[in-house]
Symmetry: C2
Subunit: 273 residues, 2 copies
Amino acid sequence: MEYKSEEEFLKAYNPNEFERLSLTTDIIIFSVSDEQVANYRKTSKKRFSILLVKRNTYPFKDKYCLPGGFVGINENLEDAPIRVLKNETNLQNIYLEQLYTYGDVHRDPRMRIISTSYMALIDKNKLNEKISKDASWFNLDIEEKNNIVTIYLDNGKEHFSFKIKKILKELTTDRYKYEIIENEHLAFDHALVILAGIERLKNKIEYTDIVFNMMPKYFTLGELQQVYEVILGKKLLDPAFRRIIEKKVLKTDKMTSGEGHRPSYLYIYKNKE
Amino acid sequence: MEYKSEEEFLKAYNPNEFERLSLTTDIIIFSVSDEQVANYRKTSKKRFSILLVKRNTYPFKDKYCLPGGFVGINENLEDAPIRVLKNETNLQNIYLEQLYTYGDVHRDPRMRIISTSYMALIDKNKLNEKISKDASWFNLDIEEKNNIVTIYLDNGKEHFSFKIKKILKELTTDRYKYEIIENEHLAFDHALVILAGIERLKNKIEYTDIVFNMMPKYFTLGELQQVYEVILGKKLLDPAFRRIIEKKVLKTDKMTSGEGHRPSYLYIYKNKE
DNA sequence: AGTCTTTTTAACAAAATGATTATATGTTAA
DNA sequence: TTAACATATAATCATTTTGTTAAAAAGACT
């Protein structure tokens, strides 16, 4: 059949001609937390953490998953993670970045569901203890050897781990294919999503300013360095770190006190103007 | 209602409970082409190029779009671009990378359609002139000033351009929001997809080896440098370029000849072993 | 033989990074 | 009051990596 115009074509178009599927979004909410260090001074150390939700319905009942949900039929894709984030944490105006879209035929046992994942970076100080019931913060430790990544999760009450193998793709690339080889506690393919998020964050922290989304307004260079260190999973040398970071921050005249050691200046993030 | 097991839940699950939508994939196929230079020697220059398809059906009849199509209900998302690529170019085993998923409610006038975009990198020498009818290669030039990007496309017969404004996001990031401000000839939101692909490629060429997917087996350093230059949109200094690239390639004992100037050694890509 | 063009190597300056060491300073405990 | 403590901050020097300019090399063309 021939149509004379775009309007005419659209009028005759039957949306049920193609098979349909559902779309969800999953969000990795990254933040850092302070952990008391077991020494006689009241020092604390930064930890890397993400928010997980315990499922109380099928499928994957009693397992953990990333906060998320279905994208409404009249909702822009990128508005869905904003809505989910508001529901889970009551936070708005948060750094969000699309990560990857997962679409294996059988990734959800219910039906064909595509999922677009996002990562969010938040400063926990802005939280008013209003995270939803069933959600909890897990500290995160990463270990990698022989292309097998083990990720340890701990929310204080429960702790578990999962393993993912990184398989180098054949084509001329340094990208990997990821395969879950051990996972008892995470629903769906969320183990993959978490690793993808971690790797994206690790990369971007080096060439962008996104860390500052996880920092409070005033921070010390020591704290900032610790955040870099937990995310990158390695120690940095002080002078090298300072050389790089001093271009991005402004020293204020405020200082810390009562820390049991020499006080340090507080810095703020310097927007590039 | 309470279920006793995952099996029981799934048996009772009604997939029509949620509204459904359709999923497509769009692929930016990047390559480089040789263009005769108008001088008295038979020298040639590399150009950056992408494959576009002229639409002969509604919607957007007679406009150009990226190769793509619907993802089958029983087809893994990542298998769809492989299939499309095979159809359009008859090529297999090609470097493919997922870019971004577009999901604005009204991005397709027919109905709610989500599209996951990919980029593919190919070596044109592997093409056997079998690209599908309606498809043609467009040389691509990029110009950016005052955060407005103009992209010029030319396939020898037709040429046009489009403009996109880059708006800095408010949050602590160096990422932009993109807004089409001038576009007469490209269907859907494909102008955005093309720019996203260009920026991804520009970034990754610096810290990965993906360029070699666009190179023939044997190449000169001059050719390789030209490819870097057309993609990055700037001249590189020879010694600096060589220092970086010599770690990635192996010099063979083959040489070029008949080029009207000093011959050069041919190199091959050195896989990291 | 001389000119053209591009390749390839050389050489040096400037900048960025790596690593070590020294000094500073409030807190805590004796 | 003082010494041990824990971290902050600065200074120093060696090393590596980049930026820049320039020169030499070699086949094709006239």
